[in-house]
């Protein structure tokens, strides 16, 4: 599997509930299937798809991703949910 096909989970912290609705609508327009979280929005997808929203995404980001200008100020931060594993 190439790096571009690797699936990532990003947590978008939003500034308010109305802003979250706008962010959700924007993400759906881009073909994503976002989920509502207490702090904002969960966005999942492979890296090549996520670049539709965040063109600078490399996949090497460990903790956070710069917020694209068109999502400011609705989105305060974008955090990368780190790798998880099963407890065999």
């Amino acid at each position: 599997m190439s790096d571009a096909q690797r699936h990532l989970e990003l947590i978008l912290e939003v500034s308010s509930d109305p802003e979250r609705d706008k962010v959700m609508a924007r993400l759906r327009q881009l073909g994503f299937d976002p989920l509502v979280m207490k702090v904002g929005v969960l966005l999942g997808g492979d890296i090549s798809a996520l670049r539709r929203l965040i063109p600078t995404l490399t996949g090497a980001e460990i903790e956070s991703v710069p917020v694209p200008p068109d999502l400011v100020p609705a989105v305060r931060s974008i955090r990368v949910f780190g790798p998880r594993s099963v407890n065999l």
Binding site: L8, E9, K38, G44, F81, P83, N87, L88
Partner: protein, 495 residues
Amino acid sequence: MHRNILPTITDSDNPVPQKIIGYVKVRGTQSLFANPKKRSFRSAKAYRAKPKDLASVEHDLNKTGFTILAKSQLGFSVLGDARQFEQLTGGEVRTVEKLVHKAGDMHEYVTHLDITGKNQPKTLGVGLPKSKSLIDGILLEKPGQFHSVFPSPIPLPSPKYHLNPPNDLAVVLGAVKAHRYGIFGQGVTIAMPDTGWYRHPYFTANRYNIKRPIVAIPGTNPSTDPFGHGTAQSSNIFAVAPAITLQPIRATDSAGNLVAPVAAFLKAKALAPQIISNSWCGSGTDYPPSTGPDEADLSFAAEVVDAIENGILVVFAAGNGQFAVEPQIPGVLAAGGVYMDRHGIYKASDFASGYYSPWFGGVVVPTVCGLCGMQPRPQYLMLPVPAGSQLDRMASNELHGVKGDRTAPDDGWALLSGTSSAAPQVAGAAALILSAKPGLRPGQVVEALSRTAHDIVHGHSSAQFNQHAKHGFDNATGWGLIDASAAVEYAKSHF
């Protein structure tokens, strides 16, 4: 022997294929489908259709979008989608699993298509037109697809000391007495975000209730589990609570990598089950950590706390030596590991995590324990896995000089047993409590399991933490090994 305990037809999780090949029989002077006793095969003459009837049916099939693959004097081989066959019959096209006899005297479940509905015959794969017409009947192609190796529905033997589900686990975890009183977990739904779920014949033979798996990543197959972990660990739940309803949620990509656990947890939460059982966590942080949990961890923690406050009991595996945020989240029932040797002596598993949380004051991981293997290789429970899956192969291989489980890499059974097994066992015990006392709050269920657990006084947790078991509550095993029936009794008498 297996055939006697397995139903011939059972539910299928496989989707209906996008394209279906079928056969449309055009009526002759005699029907193939009506009056079975009058059928004769000395000659096909009575079954041949009139040329004008064939032409009329061909016209209608083309008009409704079928592709004619071949034709004869009796009918047509056609290609269409489920909707087209449903329009033709007025029934519903669905998948079922049928136990078939294969070469080598083996039996396998193989996915078949059927047309069901009012006025449709009971014969598998046979349909009748929805209204009187020149069509005598419709047949759906019998499968040459979805075949898989048939794993035994009974745990396979291994010379390694181990326990078998369901009975060994039910006995050691104290569930048998509750079962005798008719408490099996009925009425309780447990959602399980994991690597996927495969309908292994073990589950079918035991008549367990499993909802069609759902997926966190659109496009992944809900009926497969390439890694095998979710399939294996779900059997631990049923060993303790055989009448629960399981909702598997696949959190892996097509290769079986666990890449969407948050989405899977959120989907589980949205279903509002009584319990969410999680046999996964993060890793990579040494103990004691130099920093606090990051914002992503805290965002997830908020979701978990919200689930608990909404009445969902959330169980997480304590970890196999890892230090991770999930089992530390306040209110989570963290499942650690206890090992029972062949002489019936209990001790803390040196494979399981056990520590005082430096992140959340007053939290100790684990809360209570299920059964877990020991270092250097915790192969302790014989669990069902998809035949030839990654776990099936890994378990059979030698690792760090320790032999594998002495079963084949493609036989559908594997010896496994980290805290991944302990978590669903504890979830099963919690289900018995909620079945006996519906409506209890998560904290009450945790209290019942904690106050009745067997105190463990020997052994220590994994080397990174090296916490020793001792009389009373300790940082290696928490309150100790669960006693499911005692916990049910506690709940009934205290709440």
